[in-house]
């Protein structure tokens, strides 16, 4: 039987806002056959489209732990479908030095989470962000669409250099 957090997540995948992003190829779920065996809730794999850059993929996959959704944000990192493991640091998207992009996707912190208030692990270990970035404070009104739109914007910004 689905847990309440899983049910909410599934409901949000049916929402107009999520669907509108899917039909525009901004984000989506990978096909079932490429998912690792035994992937169960609260783990979810999604993809996010990225701006075209030489030798870089058109989309990045992320593996999220969405336990407690929507009361708390998900946490996760880039995922490699071919190796069925976390994406190697060398293959992760790179940003202009000193940019917000480079900070969010930094590889010198915790490689299993994103350095962003929408990441549960990052948010819990940075209580000061509540005051510093109140606009990005995750609440139970936030959905996976807020998360995807935020990371889609970063991966399609001028600060994204490629891999």
């Amino acid at each position: 039987m689905e847990q309440p957090d899983q049910r909410l997540f599934q409901e949000d995948l049916m929402s107009a806002e999520y669907r509108a992003g899917v039909v525009r190829d901004l984000w989506g779920l990978p096909s079932l056959e490429v998912l690792p065996e035994g992937l169960t809730w609260p783990n979810v794999i999604l993809w996010i489209a990225a701006a075209a850059r030489p030798h870089a993929p058109e989309r990045f996959y992320i593996l999220l732990d969405a336990a407690g959704y929507r009361a708390v944000p998900p946490t996760g990192a880039f995922w490699d479908l071919s190796t069925r493991s976390q994406l190697d640091i060398a293959k992760r998207p790179k940003g202009k030095p000193g940019s917000r992009f480079a900070r969010v996707f930094r590889t010198d912190w915790n490689n299993s989470a994103f350095y962003h208030p929408y990441d549960r692990v990052a948010a819990q270990s940075h209580p000061g962000w509540v005051k510093e970035q109140p606009h990005l404070l995750w609440t139970d009104c936030h959905t996976i669409v807020d998360y995807l739109e935020e990371f889609y914007s970063l991966l399609n910004s001028g600060d994204y250099l490629g891999t």
Binding site: M14, S15, R19, A20, H126, W129, S157
Partner: protein
């Protein structure tokens, strides 16, 4: 959903967008009554088809411009109105929305269609304030006297409350530190 059915995204004032399933032969009124965005016989709501981005092609010298996007006749069918699969429809009491954007002590104003997105307003504002393209995207819209920054895919008509107007500050995104 059959081949004849269309998936349409419906937006409205102060509520979450919804997916509407309809057939090309349905009138827009019937389809919207089914979603609850419109009451039976209601005629005080204007309905716009599509997402308006006229502001992005507006010449730079135009000050206080306005979208020409006109509401549709909801008693016509989706087919006649040219509403197709995955199109957006917006229901609003506002004919247009008076938007003010403040940046470095200056204000730019324009009247947008309720179906214009926050992303379109942000792009227009960055252009209007002549922000340097490589860094312009770091500047985003934040509601005046607030720390709320609406998502770029939100339609303006979803954000208005009692008045057909919105006020934003153009602010630089914060880089997480610590």
């Amino acid at each position: 959903m059959t081949n004849q059915e269309l998936e349409i995204f419906v937006h409205g004032c102060g509520r979450k967008p919804q997916v509407l399933i309809a057939t090309p032969g349905d009138t827009l009124r019937i389809a919207l009554v089914r979603t609850g965005f419109l009451k039976e016989g209601q005629n005080d709501i204007l309905v716009f088809a599509g997402e308006c981005d006229e502001a992005l092609s507006e010449p730079d010298e135009i000050e206080e411009g306005a979208d020409m996007h006109t509401p549709v006749d909801i008693d016509l069918s989706l087919e006649v109105l040219g509403i197709k699969q995955h199109h957006h429809v917006h229901c609003s009491p506002c004919r247009n929305i008076a938007v003010e954007v403040n940046f470095t002590g200056k204000t730019k104003r324009r009247r947008f269609s309720p179906s214009a997105t926050v992303g379109v307003v942000a792009q227009w504002a960055r252009k209007k304030f002549h922000l340097d393209p490589p860094t312009a995207a770091e500047y985003i819209l934040q509601f005046c006297n607030s720390t709320d920054q609406p998502r770029s895919d939100k339609h303006l008509g979803e954000l208005v409350r009692e008045q057909c107007s919105l006020c934003f500050d153009l602010v630089k995104e914060i880089t997480p530190q610590g």
